[in-house]
């Protein structure tokens, strides 16, 4: 058993209000430099929708992630020979239009225009070449457009639906949509790491954060294609690729990453998971429907004395083990089995898990206008607006059971608390729901507490870490930020 620690995440989609505060926090800190204007290391998508960049889930177009071929797991993008052949012309790149052309406005014209009959206007200009542009799209262009005939109907996850089913899904009063905040998943079997011809991408040993070494990156952009989540971006100014760094400078000083910290809905949880690295290969070779279960099996119980002993043997510091024992992520992913990985079928073993959104809470309207709770909750889930099929294709590689199980628990917790506080549900009904979900009242209380009332410390169990040493402090960070990426001419010295 080779135990490693991973700083993992849970996003509770049922709480996300789609306000984009996370995206802005990230943009202000990391990607407001030249060449990085179009990058959104954190973005929030409306689902169903085509996302950012457009159709990122269509791996026939972008060739991201891994494929199981004759019992072997291979990059979908290319093998070694093809990497060499395509080195100067990576065929599976998103275009600038698929992201969007970043723009700003000529605000100066508002103040400097000569006196005239008309009000001066601030025309939009491209932030790439400075020329006036017609704005055609943006990173969240289909925000809240759950029924849009351009973006929503072309969601790749709806491709197995007939036209009639789609029309029913998008008809008024049946329409559903939810928000999907996305950052780098810091995968255990990252496609970007495997595809890099320069060996510039690495996974930090102590916390599993995936980083691109700006000194080694040669800008071949294979990672851009090979990441199925399209979360590595090419900086056209520095000629190197960049990605979410999980705000490691903040983590190292005990703060939550900026997008986590700023989250208005408090949907984000961060904590350590201990996993068995020897099982990675076996875990990505199982058929699609077993992927999530296999990934959960890799994650080890930090309370098990055997696991603790093995972790110590593998060199994991005591402080990290303690953090793992108190990790909210462990509870959501393994203990309660509420949270699911995004697109496990890409076989990258993503370490960001999503609690599926429960839509709608109530789905029957009385003639008086008040809403009624369905008593047979499970049938209401089957009749619910959000099709389980859609969620299972998003979060469970098509395995409906896992999503249903997660939903059953969430509904049971709601009923249980409603019976306690509102009283429109009887205790028997609540207990029946709990029994159906296979959980006790104690677990329901715990889920309720961590979902609704968690403190900052409960949401973010940040493991102790040593800071990067030997960083050249000759530059003012603000100045460095304006000039280039995160490169430095002196290697960082590390050690716990």
């Amino acid at each position: 058993m080779k135990i490693r620690s991973q700083t993992a995440m849970v996003f509770h989609l049922d709480k996300c209000i789609g306000c984009h505060t996370c995206s802005i926090a990230c943009k202000n800190i990391w990607t407001d430099r030249q060449g990085a204007e179009y990058m959104w290391w954190n973005n929030v998508e409306t689902k169903p929708g085509t996302g950012f960049p457009t159709l990122w889930e269509d791996q026939e177009k972008y060739k991201g992630g891994w494929e199981l071929k004759n019992g072997k797991v291979e990059l979908k993008l290319q093998n070694r020979l093809q990497t060499f052949a395509n080195l100067f012309s990576n065929p599976a790149m998103p275009t600038m239009d698929d992201y969007y052309e970043p723009w700003t406005y000529k605000y100066g014209d508002l103040f400097n225009s000569p006196l005239g009959d008309d009000q001066p206007t601030a025309r939009p200009i491209s932030r790439i070449d400075g020329q006036p542009i017609d704005i055609e799209s943006g990173p969240n262009w289909d925000d809240d457009l759950g029924g849009s005939n351009v973006y929503a109907v072309n969601d790749p996850l709806l491709d197995d639906m007939s036209e009639e089913e789609k029309q029913r899904l998008f008809s008024i009063e049946q329409l559903f949509y939810f928000y999907m905040p996305r950052i780098c998943n810091h995968c255990l079997n990252a496609g970007c790491v495997a595809a890099c011809p320069s060996g510039a991408i690495y996974k930090r040993a102590e916390d599993g954060i995936v980083l691109i070494n700006q000194d080694k990156c040669r800008g071949w952009r294979m990672c851009v294609s090979a990441c199925p989540y399209k979360k590595t971006f090419y900086n056209w100014s520095t000629g190197k690729s960049e990605k979410c760094i999980l705000c490691y400078p903040r983590l190292e000083s005990g703060q939550a990453p900026a997008c986590f910290h700023s989250c208005v809905g408090r949907i984000r949880y961060l904590g350590v998971l201990l996993y068995d690295a020897d099982q990675i290969e076996a875990a990505v070779k199982v058929p699609d429907e077993q992927l999530v279960q296999r990934q959960r099996e890799m994650i080890l119980d930090p309370h098990d004395p055997k696991v603790v002993a093995a972790a110590k043997e593998s060199g994991i510091p005591d402080g990290v083990i303690t953090a793992a024992q108190r990790s909210p992520v462990y509870r959501y992913v393994k203990e309660w089995e509420l949270a699911l990985p995004l697109h496990p079928e890409y076989r990258t073993l993503p370490m960001l898990f999503y609690v599926p959104p429960l839509l709608p809470v109530l789905n029957a309207t009385q003639s008086s206008g008040t809403q009624l709770v369905e008593t047979d909750l499970f049938s209401s889930l089957e009749n619910a607006r959000v099709p389980v099929r859609y969620m299972s294709r998003t979060l469970a590689a098509g395995n409906d059971e896992l999503v249903i199980k997660s939903y059953q628990k969430m509904i049971a917790v709601r009923l249980y608390k409603r019976a306690q506080t509102v009283g429109d549900v009887t205790a028997e009904e609540a207990n029946a729901a709990l029994a159906k979900a296979g959980m006790g009242a104690e677990e329901a209380e715990a889920i309720y507490h961590l979902t609704s009332l968690p403190s900052y410390q409960e949401r973010f169990m940040i493991p102790p870490a040593s800071r990067e040493g030997d960083i050249e402090e000759t530059y003012d960070p603000q100045q460095r930020k304006a000039e280039a990426g995160f490169g430095r001419s002196q290697g960082a010295h590390r050690g716990l």
Partner: protein
């Protein structure tokens, strides 16, 4: 101290000058400088067929000089003709006397080509090779001077176009955006 240093410097210069003198005199006496031109009489014994092989590079010169075809063309020899840096030699025997041709090939005498001299100084042609080459050039007299430069240009152009088409087909899916087609499709449906 200064005096001693100056003295040692002086002797060093002397040594270098002597070294150069030795090297230069060695060069001057080396057989490479100006081969013996072939006599007019010996040219008659030249083998035109061997001359053709030498000219086109099928056979090697004894002293490893480069074949003439690198810079010259003769008649319609060669699929793409010869080089075009030097003059076309098809009718050279009409323009030059046998002696002049021999002088040029041997790099000595009244006719010396400033281009060929540095190339063949270290790799002189033997008397026999000169005779064969001159015999070959006499035999080629009157052949048509076909200019094959256009063939080379044509092949290059066709190759470039062919490569562009092949690569274009191979990478036809590259940098094709997906968003704009979605929008166009949706707009078509509305109309």
């Amino acid at each position: 101290m200064t005096n001693k240093k100056g003295k040692s410097k002086g002797s060093m210069t002397l040594f270098i000058v002597l070294l150069f003198a030795v090297v230069l005199s060695g060069c001057a006496s080396a057989p490479g400088k100006g081969a013996i031109p072939v006599s007019t009489k010996a040219i008659e014994a030249g083998d035109a067929e061997n001359g053709r092989k030498l000219f086109m590079g099928y056979a090697h010169f004894e002293n490893e000089g480069p074949p003439c075809m690198g810079c010259h063309s003769v008649g319609d020899n060669g699929l793409l003709g010869g080089g075009s840096m030097g003059p076309n030699l098809t009718d050279i025997s009409e323009r030059l006397t046998l002696d002049e041709m021999a002088f040029l090939l041997a790099n000595s005498g009244s006719e010396i080509s400033p281009v060929m001299q540095p190339i063949y100084t270290a790799h002189p042609l033997t008397v026999r090779e000169q005779a064969d080459l001159i015999a070959f050039m006499i035999s080629s007299e009157g052949q048509s001077e076909t200019d094959k430069e256009m063939i080379v240009v044509g092949i290059s152009l066709a190759g470039t176009v062919g490569a562009a088409i092949a690569l274009g087909f191979l990478y036809r899916g590259r940098l094709r955006g997906v968003r704009r087609p979605l929008v166009n499709e949706a707009q078509k449906e509305l109309l």
